[in-house]
């Protein structure tokens, strides 16, 4: 098929896309509104497509928890009461469930599951290196998010799982996390590093081979041999979980590549997030993941680019005095002072021109999106900039409506 964006002969709306998938991974750089978008997509899917939908989020704002009617999120999924949504005209056909990713607890559970025995498990959990390894190593947040996704999916409890991804320095990190985790445990490096301690046994006794000796000489000079030994001991225990981890990481990797899984990349029409989104789309494609949707979030309304608007702003600025006198003649009490009215009209014109500049910048960036290599996303949707925060059920419903609209224009709901 020749290059076209969005893809020909495929679903043209998010509704159609979601109805054929079981897992949607929302990704994008920080600050683009990923979490709210994921929650709104899950809510709308539950309402319109029915079934049992789970939104698995990483670090929700308090207001989002409130909007979902939940006191707090936890590792255990909770059902979201949809009564408030019924009042807003959303007739839920299905159920919405929500859970938050508790990285620390998920890691602990993983260790308890994969360690050969309880004693080893607690030796690992109590080690002061453990926290460090789990909070920072091989993109451990990313890994744990994917691992939880796998577990929830394997439970077969949900028709659709919408997962929000952790903010990463580099958006592709989490795609590689399962492979890296397997690589970490399976790698020669770990064996090579711990070998002197295994062979020598006990404190102080180290046996080097020719290859590792220079490394240990250097590491001793920097870290000190005691510190190095503490590290090696921790790795020795950690390595006992090898088999379980590798098997699991491979299964997670498989789920991400499954045809029932798709990715939604969220971005705003700003330079840096957009560049990251574009590179992310390319990475997904290069790794044969399914790029289902590109969501353009917080898009300014199109009327800012209208010739009529531009003309009107010009008239307001030029003829502010004349219009102000006519406004005073209407008899509306607040418009009696012509000086104030003229000032307000000029401010309106200035403000329109200000936002017009931003809207134009967004439109230019939107055009450049064609740089995303084919096949490109199946669906591209725009969500308008809402004046207020995503702080209530109403806002989630509005985002959901925009997401599910066919070829949604970047306009603001009245």
């Amino acid at each position: 098929m020749s290059a076209a964006s969005p893809r020909e002969g495929q679903s043209q709306s998010l509704a159609a896309l979601l109805s054929t998938r079981e897992v949607v991974v929302f990704c994008g750089s920080g600050g683009v509104g990923k979490t709210s978008t994921a929650a709104a997509a899950a809510l709308t899917a539950a309402a319109r497509l029915g079934g049992k939908v789970l939104v698995l989020t990483i670090d929700p704002a308090k207001r989002l928890a409130d909007a979902l009617g939940l006191e707090a999120f936890g590792n255990v999924a909770r059902r979201v009461p949809l009564d408030a949504y019924a009042e807003l005209g959303v007739e839920p056909r299905g159920e919405l469930w929500a859970a938050m990713l508790d990285t620390k607890r998920s890691w602990d559970e993983l260790v308890l599951r994969h360690a050969p025995d309880e004693a080893t498990a607690y030796r690992i959990l109590d080690n002061r290196m453990y926290h460090n390894v789990t909070s920072r190593f091989v993109q451990s947040h990313d890994y744990i998010a994917m691992e939880r996704l796998y577990e929830v999916h394997a439970s077969g409890e949900y028709d659709l799982i919408v997962i929000d991804t952790p903010p990463t320095r580099n958006a592709i990190d989490f795609l590689e996390a399962p492979a890296r985790m397997a690589d970490f445990f399976g790698g020669r490096l770990l064996r090579w590093l711990t070998m002197p301690y295994r062979v020598g046994g006990g404190r102080g006794g180290r046996m080097f081979n020719a290859a590792s000796k220079p490394f240990y000489q250097m590491a001793d000079r920097v870290l000190g041999s005691q510190f190095l030994q503490d590290i090696a001991e921790f790795f020795l225990n950690f390595q006992s979980m090898y088999g379980g981890f590798v098997e699991r990481a491979e299964a997670v990797e498989q789920l991400l590549h499954d045809r029932r899984t798709t990715f939604a990349v969220v971005t705003t029409l700003e330079g840096a997030p957009l560049r990251e989104a574009e590179s992310f789309c390319r990475e997904l494609d290069a790794r044969n993941f399914d790029l289902g949707a590109l969501v353009l979030n917080k898009v300014l309304p199109e009327y800012l680019l209208s010739a009529d608007g531009e003309h009107a702003a010009g008239v307001f600025a030029r003829e502010s005095e004349v219009i102000a006198r006519e406004l005073a003649a209407t008899g509306v009490p607040a418009l009696a002072d012509t000086t104030s009215s003229a000032r307000v009209l000029r401010t309106l014109a200035d403000s329109f021109h200000n936002y017009e500049v931003v809207a134009r910048r967004e439109a230019e960036l939107r055009t450049e999106l064609t740089r995303i290599a084919p096949p490109g996303p199946e669906v591209i949707v725009s969500v308008p900039a809402f004046p207020a925060d995503i702080d209530d059920a109403r806002a989630l419903v509005r985002i959901g409506e925009a997401l599910f609209a066919v070829d949604a224009p970047g306009t603001i709901a009245p």
Binding site: S29, G30, G31, A61, M129, V133, R136, F137, P167, R169, L189, L193, S212, P214, F215, Q217, M218, A219, R221, V222, L223, G224, Q226, F227, F234, G271, P301, Y303, L304, D308, G309, E310, H311, A312, V315, F316, E319, V322, I323, E326, L327, T330, V332, A334, L335, S340, V344, T347, L348, S351, F352, Y355, V357, V358, A385, P387, A388, D389, D391, I412
Partner: protein, 317 residues
């Protein structure tokens, strides 16, 4: 507040997407405009800081990217290599290559090792300048995001607690001393008047007070939207919604008049919801707040960096 640029080492942190790098670059530019020689350090490996000066990416070796501004990209392997050569006097030729991966592996697992290679290099440049072997008047650091900055700056003390003896421990004393000196060092937070960035800022300031000895500097609130109307003018604006008034506007400016009024309505409500977060921040944080306006401009790059620097300069006087 005006003393901010009189310090020698400024760290900038903030939630992703708030403009942390732009504000950091603008600070460097402002200081350079005042005649200082500035070292600008990018810690995260995004390597896009120099684009704010219309300059190609740089490496570990500082390069001049603008008159008075020298930029470098932090890289723990290069930092280690330099440390081994200069401090530990370990002869390293090509050999570090194959060992780098092994060391990287250990350094990532061992608490604080990567951080100390980062913070250590920065403090080393400061110490060299204080003792006259280098001539940086100011070091400006685009530091880790809010989630990681505490562990980055806390590393020297964490290592003191964790490691009883050894060379790495011996290096921590002077680092702690420089980092905790309020005349030299400040940690600054960049934020924007939105819910999540404000929450993260409040949390970070509280945690930094609790867990860090690094003095806090200022909170810089980026992208503050302008107040369109005074209270009185707001009533005038509301009255324009009256059918008789709308008819007058439409008569002069036809169809577009509604769009202009609607655009202002959007601007007013965006400003309003943001000012709620701004007051939350003001109430919760007792640090100086510097406000930078939202820039209604088309392009990026040096021109924008300069505009931010000018706004920052005004807030600092």
């Amino acid at each position: 507040m005006s003393g901010l640029l009189d310090r020698r080492l400024l760290f900038f942190t903030g939630k992703g997407g708030v403009g942390k790098s732009t504000v950091t670059a603008a600070t460097a530019l402002l200081a350079a405009d005042q005649g200082k020689k500035v070292l600008l350090v990018e810690v995260d490996a995004k390597n896009n800081l120099t684009a704010l000066f219309e300059h190609a990416p740089v490496g570990f070796e500082p390069r001049q990217v603008h008159p008075g501004v020298f930029a470098m990209q932090m890289d723990t392997e290069s930092s280690l290599r330099e440390y081994l050569k200069v401090q530990a006097r370990v002869p390293v030729f090509g050999r570090i290559g194959p060992m780098a991966r092994a060391f990287d592996f250990v350094a990532t697992a061992a608490p604080g090792v990567k951080e100390i290679l980062t913070v250590g290099k920065i403090c080393w440049e400061l110490r060299e300048s204080l003792e006259g072997r280098a001539d940086w008047d100011l070091i400006v650091v685009d530091a880790a995001a809010t989630g990681h900055v505490i562990s980055q700056l806390d590393a020297p003390e964490a290592i003191q607690e964790l490691v009883a003896v050894g060379p790495i421990r011996n290096q921590t004393g002077w680092l702690v001393e420089l980092l905790s000196d309020p005349a030299l060092t400040a940690l600054n937070v960049v934020t924007s008047p939105e819910e999540m960035p404000v929450n993260e800022t409040i949390e970070l300031v509280a945690r930094a007070r609790e867990e860090l000895n690094v003095p806090l500097g200022v909170v810089i609130v980026n992208r503050v939207l302008p107040e369109l109307f005074t209270h009185a003018d707001d009533e005038v604006f509301e009255a324009l919604g009256d059918p008789a008034a709308a008819a007058v506007l439409a008569q002069h400016a036809s169809a577009g008049s509604a769009a202009v009024v609607e655009a202002a309505r959007l601007a007013v409500s965006m400003r309003r919801s943001r000012s709620v977060h701004l007051s939350e921040l003001r109430d919760a944080v007792d640090l100086p707040l510097l406000l930078l306006p939202y820039l209604f401009v088309r392009d990026h790059g040096l021109r924008v960096t300069r505009m931010v620097a000018e706004a920052l300069g005004q807030e600092l006087t």
